[in-house]
């Protein structure tokens, strides 16, 4: 297996974390095997174009299978909502700043998106994840004690 396929497989293994825990526990190993077989066949048929097609299907599955399955998981839902809300408010502020700025160049805009929108949104999502995770553990402990 070459470096492109190995890297792809490494990334797919990490992205499996987005799928529900029971699916990963029961079929995670097989999913990785099937993905590896698919990658090798695609590389044999069409090289990079084949690998890109496999990734297109894999990413589409993340949206159609992984995310809907995680809707009821607060550890995913709360950080995702937090990210969206903060990103939306920060984007609105940035738009206002851009609108009022005398001159806007591309590097300034990219830095602003990174520092004003993405960083606070990610930080908030991370905090939301930790709090939800801790809260979920606490409530399980409380239930066990009762």
């Amino acid at each position: 297996m070459n470096i492109v396929l190995l890297r792809s497989l490494w990334l797919y293994e990490r992205l499996l974390l987005l799928y529900p825990e029971d699916l990963r526990r029961d079929f995670g190993g097989e999913m990785i095997l099937a993905f590896a077989d698919d990658l090798e066949a695609a590389w044999g048929d069409a090289r990079i174009a084949g690998v890109m097609q496999i990734w297109w299907y894999a990413l589409r599955e993340m949206l159609t299978v992984a995310l809907p399955a995680q809707r009821s998981n607060p550890c995913v839902l709360v950080p995702a909502l937090s990210f969206v809300v903060v990103a939306a408010t920060q984007s609105a502020e940035l738009c206002l700043a851009v609108h009022q700025a005398a001159r806007v160049d591309t590097s300034w805009l990219f830095d602003s998106i990174r520092l004003v929108v993405l960083l606070p949104s990610l930080a908030n999502a991370l905090i939301a994840f930790v709090v939800t995770r801790v809260y979920a553990r606490c409530s399980i402990t409380a239930l066990q004690l009762d």
Partner: protein
Amino acid sequence: MEQSDQLLAPAAFLILFALATGDKHGYAIMQEARKLSDDSFKIGPATLYTTIQRLLDSDRIREVPGPKDGDSRRKYYRLTGAGKSALNAELVRMEAMLRKSKAIRLRLAEFSS
């Protein structure tokens, strides 16, 4: 409503169809499903195993030991009686739909000529 009377999702139908010709592991099911649909329906690993999980839960397929010389990491799956009934019911339904669609096409052809 009996299990075999329920409409099958396309992925579940293709997985049952692929297993109708014998026991297979996940990747072999993926390839067979692609062939059966003339490459028009691609099942990825997540769709495949989410559907396999549902089919196992509804006893339409079951896990069986693979060949002795096969890869021990791979699990093999086999159609159960309930799976065969569900597949057969779906095929009968499709045949009936095809007959009706042919009749409608004939009528449309008469109407346009």
